[in-house]
Subunit: 119 residues, 2 copies
Amino acid sequence: MKENTCPTDTYLCLTPERVADILDEMPPDEQLYDLAELFKIFGDSTRIRILYALFEAEMCVGDIAQLLGLSQTAVSHQLRVLKINKLVKGRKEGKIVFYALADEHVRRIIDQGMEHIAE
Amino acid sequence: MKENTCPTDTYLCLTPERVADILDEMPPDEQLYDLAELFKIFGDSTRIRILYALFEAEMCVGDIAQLLGLSQTAVSHQLRVLKINKLVKGRKEGKIVFYALADEHVRRIIDQGMEHIAE
DNA sequence: ATATCATATGAACAAATGAACATATGAAAG
DNA sequence: CTTTCATATGTTCATTTGTTCATATGATAT
């Protein structure tokens, strides 16, 4: 038998103490679920492109659509998703709605992702 | 007519110069596509839980499964996804495979996400 | 009022995705 | 060799997701 392995009751390599430690450090499942939901929003190239466009400045729906070569409907749908998840905010001026990034977290999360890509 | 609006050829509120600027700042679509793919990986609570467990230490497949109350098959499938996308790395020791976070980007991306959640 | 413009919404459909099943490697022990 | 154990893979299936179409809202102008 190998020296490295450390069988316990039911675990192959973890001691009960370590199991307790790890479970203790883990955030509650509900929070991890919300976190996954957040990343799910970033996990679509259309939404990423919209967010990246908004990096530069606030923009109205039609211009985003034209800029990215998307239909107005598609953009509106995705902006709704982004707004619900607090990644963008809308400012209405007459019939035009200007959208902008909700906060700097959005930029930072995307930047971190970019760094990983460019490894 | 409102003073804020600035119609150009085809855009509602963007000047052609700004359009050029924005498009210039945008990474190529292929890169944004890859970025979305990366976030897609984080956008699943099972994978997030696995990654969080690996925050503490490297672990073998069976122990991860037991720790999180998942089937071995499910964990293996997700570890495969995580490995392909370079979020975890595997180290084989006999018949046991120990998985660990591939690099610190993973932790940082998740931490940034957590900060956003806790706003 | 009506017309037009910007955006939003709802329904329907195709594509992607995660989970569960069975099965297949591949390594150590007898 | 065969058996057992840890992990990996393939396939099917139900669900989710993004897009498109048609339509609705809401604001400005005539």
